[in-house]
């Protein structure tokens, strides 16, 4: 969902056909586009689409029809099993291309870690069927509506994960206007800027640090490196999420925001709520609450946290690194729960600082595939190599300072603060500024897309 072909060919062509087509045709067109996008990335992805849509629709109908009978539970279990199998078999880690099959030493089903929606469609399908089972709403009889909800291509890359009850009314409307299109364009440009200018650079910074042997890594470089990785993860996922929301806005859909300044969290539980909120809500509704309902004992709560965090981490890719990081997160969440009272007494800035330091401390488990290497990296971060800084640290700071500073400002919500406080509230100024900054970003992003075209395919979400 990024590249010159996407921006200059797909986007205008799609927008033109979608906006000009009559209302009944729009859903079919979205579905065909989803299939086309999957085919473009990897035709094997069509299996994911077909399985998720069919299982979601059929099991939804069956569960609803047998809702008062015990068999509905079995049907739901089957639906969940099928979709989890699809998720595990087809979802590849964008960061290193790993999936369950490669972890097991087998060949991946997909040729490359491209956008086929394998991380999103199973979640949509499961969420819809669980809600029908819980009698939250009736099953949908119109196949096309369920198909469009499950295979809604703008959210393929990085969400947001949609809820059917949220999506359904908008689907019926399919209503768009100039304001919505302009808002979509702004989101797409912002997403591209985040991906091209910050995320890509943060990944290069992380690669530079990874190029240094861990045993000789100075503490400062280690902290810079892991901070870069943290920014990379945030900006990469949030960029694609913004682009997805932007496309949806052009189509007239208003999707929920997935990120709310997560690195300004004051605790790990707060971080979970703010980092990919829609995924958090999905895990909370369909995993955490399902387990908690079985009993209020502490062990159930622990199990609920463990399973939810594990699922959320595995959503970013099925690999050992996700499991290790999930375990570290669970330890932190439990420790936080135990120390809840003394922690609350600390001033908020101290709590934020403490959280950031602890998050960066456990992040090497996500960044590095070998947990032992991650431990060595953490040791280096705390001066275990007896080197505080060297000339390389100086090079890293001088080269990447602006990018890191921008990353801090954006992820810290400084720009959001200005908008909230309505600092740019002059109507006349806004009228001029808005088109100008969109075009400036377009020029900026085009220059990046032309220049780094080939390296965009290095890591694909």
């Amino acid at each position: 969902m990024i590249g010159l072909s996407f921006l200059y060919f797909f986007l205008p062509a799609f927008a033109a056909v979608y906006l000009l087509s009559p209302k009944p045709f729009k859903s079919r067109f979205v579905l065909v586009t989803s299939a086309g996008m999957i085919c473009w990335a990897d035709p094997m992805g069509l299996i994911v689409m077909a399985v998720c849509i069919l299982s979601g629709y059929l099991f939804g109908v069956f569960i609803f029809n047998f809702r008062e009978k015990p068999v509905s539970k079995l049907l739901l279990a089957l639906e969940i099993f099928i979709n989890i199998a699809v998720l595990l078999l087809f979802h590849r880690t964008a960061y290193d291309g790993a999936d369950l099959l490669t972890v097991l030493g087998q060949r991946s089903l997909l040729r490359k870690a491209a956008t086929v929606g394998a991380a999103v469609m199973p979640l949509h399908s499961i969420g819809y069927c669980v809600d029908v089972y819980r009698k939250k709403y009736r099953c949908e009889q119109r196949f096309i509506k369920i198909a469009e909800y499950i295979a809604f291509f703008p959210v393929f890359a990085a969400g947001p994960i949609l809820r059917y009850d949220y999506f359904s009314p908008q689907f019926d409307e399919h209503k768009t206007n100039v304001s919505s299109i302009a808002s979509g364009i702004r989101l797409i440009m912002l997403g591209m800027f985040m991906k091209l200018f910050i995320s890509n650079t943060m990944l290069e910074l992380w690669d530079d640090v990874r190029g240094i042997q861990v045993s000789s890594l100075p503490a400062l470089s280690a902290w810079i490196g892991i901070a870069a990785f943290a920014f990379f993860v945030y900006f990469e996922v949030s960029a694609f999420s913004n682009i997805g929301c932007g496309i949806a806005a052009i189509m007239g859909f208003r999707l929920p925001r997935s990120f709310r300044e997560p690195y300004r969290s004051h605790s790990f539980s707060d971080f979970c709520r703010k980092f990919n909120c829609t995924l958090y809500r999905w895990c909370k509704d369909y995993i955490y609450r399902s387990i908690i309902r079985r009993g209020s004992h502490g062990i159930y709560k622990f199990l609920a946290i463990l399973m939810s965090v594990l699922a959320a981490c595995l959503w970013y890719g099925t690999s050992m690194r996700s499991v290790c990081f999930a375990l570290a997160m669970v330890i932190m969440l439990c420790a936080e729960k135990l120390l809840e009272v003394p922690l609350k007494k600390l001033p908020k800035p101290i709590r934020i600082l403490l959280f950031v330091v602890l998050l960066l401390t456990i992040l090497p488990f996500m960044a590095l595939s070998d947990p032992f290497e991650a431990l060595k990296y953490i040791k280096a971060m705390y001066g275990g190599n007896q080197i505080a800084a060297d000339i390389t640290s100086e090079y890293l700071i001088s080269t990447y300072f602006l990018f890191v500073a921008l990353g801090i400002l954006i992820s810290g919500g400084v720009f959001g603060y200005f908008f909230k406080k309505k600092i740019f509230n002059n109507e006349y100024l806004k009228t001029i500024i808005q088109p100008v900054w969109v075009i400036a970003l377009l020029i900026f992003c085009t220059s990046f897309l032309v220049s780094v075209g080939s390296s965009l395919f290095r890591y694909l979400l």
């Binding site: 205008p12 364009i185 190029g211 000339i391 090079y395 085009t446 075209g453």
Partner: protein
Amino acid sequence: MKKFSDAITVAAFFAILLMFAVSTLFFQDKIPVSELLKKNADVGQTISEYVTDSFPMNKNWRSIYTNIMVFAGRSRFDDIYIAGDRLVKLDNHQKENSMIENVAYINELAANTECPIYMMLAPTAAGVYNADIPDMFNDKSQRERINDAYLQLDRRIASIDAFYPLYSARDEYVYYRTENLWTGFGAYYAYYESTKKLGLQAVTLDNYDQEFAESGFFGSLYDSAMVSGIKPDRINIFRSKYQSPVTEVDMYDGDSTKQAESVYFRSALKGSKRTDIFLQGDKHIKTDIYTDLDNESELLIIKGSFANTIVPFYTAHYSRITMVDPMKLKEADLTLSDVVSLDDYDRILVLFDIESFSNLKCFDTLK
């Protein structure tokens, strides 16, 4: 007012998109996608590459990108590093193991001939200007890597040190600023050093007239990085003050042989790679250079790109110089014995830059 602003945003955005899309599709003279698809089966990637290559004002966009990044503090673009006033291609250590393999092939070549064999591994600009490059891109110096390679050579192979003379002359114009090659000056310093080992009397610079064949070109490193603020390069040709000894140059391509009368090919100055003025660069499998010297001493050079600039200096000493490019041999599925007979030569010189020598996988053709 907001509606007006939104309308302008939408109209301007899509107008720009359409303008460039139409221009990319209809007004750029590029190879058709169908042709590209024959080379690469991945449709998505091929189309993306086609769009990127055909995008209007490609160079200007890349220049904007580089300038933004340089302004933001970046000094490395993939494997190109801005080292002061020059662009340097960074070493690729990933394939270092093939150096041991390649040395073994050279040893095998020496074992199969009675002819004296010499080896010159030249440093690239990344090796000579390593003080300007951060240590993280320089984990093992080229000097060490060259010495490692020399230590593994058979005793019969004499090594020629090109590092020291080039390093000593690093403040002079010994490497191009925008091309990953040494200049005529750099080649001369290496030639001068080599004559000591080859038992020749070096021709001093005052015997040459210096000609600026090209005084404002940007090389391939510049084309890749598009960094503004780097001065253009010049190509110096050293012409003998006396008559050139070269009488004929034969270039063999596998199925045809071309002839010329000089080692300098000015037609290359009109092409994209200006440094091909020296013996047309790396285009030929074998190049024979005949001179009017009657000492009948003949030199075989197993060559990399760096050899093209140094060979004109050797023409003052040999009646025939044959250059064979193992990479071209590999492409044509030939071996060294298919194109030359080692017994015909008095000396063999293996001449590569350390980077190419470490990474190339074509030395099995020397069997």
